[in-house]
Symmetry: C2
Subunit: 138 residues, 2 copies
């Protein structure tokens, strides 16, 4: 991977997940994600629209970009898989993502509400296996 | 349109444009855009990948979201058209977009380089006619 792409993907920038909607139109939604072992991983509640759509058609894209010029952009085209995420693993992943995006204090406040007294239930893990990763500036 | 969606679309937040790539995979790219007469308009150089792809399949999405919690999100599903944008209209639109995203001083610096001494040439206008506009928070 281009080190500039790896650097940008490691910053706490919101991922913009693109997929084919159930009506055939594309969709773009902002997600928390993390790079793990060459894949981009996303934690999802069960039975979401994106989970249904990606289960049916795993063709996906994820982009991150900076908010200010010069715009640094990473565009990933990927194959997605959606699998059950047991509660304990879900807590681990969401905790890691909250820390990445909100910092220690923000994560604590977030997880206090999110975890439902330690029992958020099972969720879904969306894994994106990259086919292409492109770095650009604009 | 939900006034919360209209408000968010009027802020200088980068649009995340989703479309079907020529290989059948989705693509997401960051774009400057503006709401004009109920449509979202994007200025493009000629002969870009997104222009080709949207000419072939006009099914599109555009999302904006805030960078900090609570995340405010507008997701638009739209039909796109791509048409030639004559130089004079291109200068007008890019000037308006630069002002919207960069402010007066930033726009001046940007346009000095972009305009190629007043002759940037023709471009393309991408117009998104919304089918659905959804406001959400996360």
């Amino acid at each position: 991977m281009d080190p500039r792409a790896a650097d940008l993907l490691s910053r706490p920038l919101i991922g913009q997940l693109g997929f084919h909607g159930l009506d055939g139109y594309p969709r773009v939604i902002p997600v928390w994600f993390e790079l793990r072992g060459g894949e981009l991983v996303i934690a999802s509640p069960p039975a979401t629209y994106k989970g249904h759509a990606l289960s049916r058609d795993g063709r996906a894209a994820l982009s991150v970009s900076t908010a200010e010029r010069p715009y640094l952009i990473v565009s990933v085209v990927a194959d997605a898989t959606v699998e059950r995420l047991a509660e304990s693993e879900r807590i681990e992943l969401v905790s890691a993502l909250a820390l990445r995006y909100l910092g220690p204090d923000g994560a604590r406040l977030y997880l206090d509400v999110w975890s439902k007294e330690g029992h958020p239930g099972d969720g879904e893990l969306i894994r994106l296996a990259p086919r292409k990763i492109r770095f650009s500036t604009s």
